[in-house]
Subunit: 404 residues, 2 copies
Amino acid sequence: MPPRPPRRDDPVRQRSLRDHNLALVLRHVTAANRPPSRAEIAAASGLTRATVSTIVDELIAGGLVAELEPVSRSGVGRPGTGIVPAGTGPAGLGMEVNVDYLAVCAVDLTGAVRHRQVRRLDQREHSPAQTWQALGELADQAVAAVAAQGLVPAGGVIAVPGLVEGDTIRIAPNLGWQQVALPRPEDLGGPRDLPLDVANEATLAALGERHATGLRSFLYVSGEIGIGGGIVLDGELFGGSHGWAGEIGHVTIDPQGPDCHCGSRGCLEQYAGEEAIRAAAGLRAGGAVLADLVDGGRQGSAPVLDALEHAGTALGVALSGAVNLLDIGTVVLGGHYAELIDWLRPAIERELARRVITARWAPAKVRASALGSDAALVGAARAVTQAILDDPARFLATRPAPAV
Amino acid sequence: MPPRPPRRDDPVRQRSLRDHNLALVLRHVTAANRPPSRAEIAAASGLTRATVSTIVDELIAGGLVAELEPVSRSGVGRPGTGIVPAGTGPAGLGMEVNVDYLAVCAVDLTGAVRHRQVRRLDQREHSPAQTWQALGELADQAVAAVAAQGLVPAGGVIAVPGLVEGDTIRIAPNLGWQQVALPRPEDLGGPRDLPLDVANEATLAALGERHATGLRSFLYVSGEIGIGGGIVLDGELFGGSHGWAGEIGHVTIDPQGPDCHCGSRGCLEQYAGEEAIRAAAGLRAGGAVLADLVDGGRQGSAPVLDALEHAGTALGVALSGAVNLLDIGTVVLGGHYAELIDWLRPAIERELARRVITARWAPAKVRASALGSDAALVGAARAVTQAILDDPARFLATRPAPAV
DNA sequence: TCTTGTTTGTTCAGCCATTGAACTTATAGG
DNA sequence: CCTATAAGTTCAATGGCTGAACAAACAAGA
């Protein structure tokens, strides 16, 4: 998603030095748990107060941060003026295409969700073109709504439940899409000049989770109709060679297991996918499966508890392999799994303890998603703002200082 | 291994700018397939000729690169003087502790192996202290041998078949070691002031493979008595949270499979470890298992071919999971697997094609290790030189320009 | 042999971002 | 009202890169 990550093979000139320190200061502003003063930023970053001052001035001029009213905080000495990420100006537009709904949200640079709208719409009954059109309408409304709050979207990211590569959606099984070209701004409707991007929903959800929790490294697993995943390493999303990393849904649990629609056998989805759990629990098809499972779990229904125990065991086996391979300390359960975690966790942790070779020295933690079902949507919007925060110089260069 | 990787949260001053460009220029010198001139480095790196000149001067003064005799290469114009990594000066000392041998080697900055010695010694009959002592003798000889060639080891790395964390070897199953403290220079014997480091052998082998082949991203799997692995992503070794990433040997193949000594069931080692293959092939225990397998394979022995086919299938299942998770394009087979690749590959590729969800768009390649059984040893030595090449400024700062 | 054209490598003034110290501003406490 | 303390700004100095001019080394042609 970042248009072009800074590469270590780039030559470094004076300007890139400033670029780096712009990002460094901005990072301190966003990461601090209390609006830091210029002096505090200087102390924390290792730069001098003089440098921080000029950099903060540049960020203020570019509309990326703002000064608070000077408030006397504590003790003697001249009180500092707190610096905060701008609550107006650039925003990120997140969009989500899922099986039976579309959603749009907007976040500002502080990470706050400033707009959110969901519309029920079954994509299986519509062509991709119709989906883009409907999504465009929602986006239009979002742009208008945030404009009233002083926000201007700097880009949009669309989350889709499928594999994205280059300029096509290779396949989105549950939408019934194959080889669908990525939408250009005009496909969404109005003549927007928004830079658009499309990415896998689980990947974006992992990103959203990373920003919501501050976790530096974790494996995110989202269980809905399909099972998706995303890997965050040291604060960075890990995409793999083609951006397809994290596809844990088709990891083999049992080489001789049941056939999977992907052509393989014994995939995790055949044990812990929504349909598999529903069938094992003896629930009716076509209903509100998640709600039924939660109800069954709460009421202690034996078939439901058994089904979740089996799913958790399979999840635990797959996650053990992932933890052995990646040596990753935390597993975040998202999507439906977040609401089922109480019944899934015992089996998952049992398998992790048994199958992860380093479990006795550094047991992996299992926790529920903090964002729940909004993770992908918010993650998509945050991907836009994060790109600005990660490389403010690029943003400032393309969009010169707004008229004051 | 790099004592302290450059962090993006560091402030950037003028000096770090020079540090970055020192590394940038040095990287161009080592990566070029022909000694580049200052002008060519400038063109390739984006720096100006003036800057490259001063940087090259600094590198020459520090003994990291050298000028070739100016040779008229081609066409008109003043011929450039080629710049090459120094063949004298700093060297890397690689050491390996394995079940039944110790080994030492030294490489120079060009990556060439300038010394290599292996000594049969069964660690299971000796204490760690005795092992360090014996290794120290080999190291002494190596230091003396390379000194005669104008090389001075700048550091040493020891490869061990076990899990290393902080300042202890947590466990090295096949050596029978548990909670062994990492050796300090004095534990090896003579009063050396060599900075020492210890790391997992498969991890280091992956690193060696990376430098030998130039591959940017791959999964390295080494099959010997145990199965180890290492992950290289975008040219960098991926260590995970504790440096334990790549432990593919205990990924679950079948949750109900045979018990493994690690306490789990159905681990890959139970299907594709040396002992498992030997037993399946009906070979006698205690012999030269690898040689027997290669012989059996060449002669078309049915039990041997069957055993290797089974091992390849299990490897394929485990690798499929890894590729699904990491979206990694290449799998490198090392250790004994390198010599058995002809009989393992068909089954591995069959499983990859069937089980990797993205196989039809981007099939993963399977190849044999280029370094074979020396991968860990050479990788350990290269880890030292690579640290210098990655951050020449640190080296130049600690070891000022040698007397000219 | 001499001249011309081309490319390499060096020199140097100019530029730019950071530094460190001095200075100004703003507060608390006596 | 004065002093101590801390925040923020100003400014000369420093270090590293750039660009242009220049010197050096070679090929090709006259």
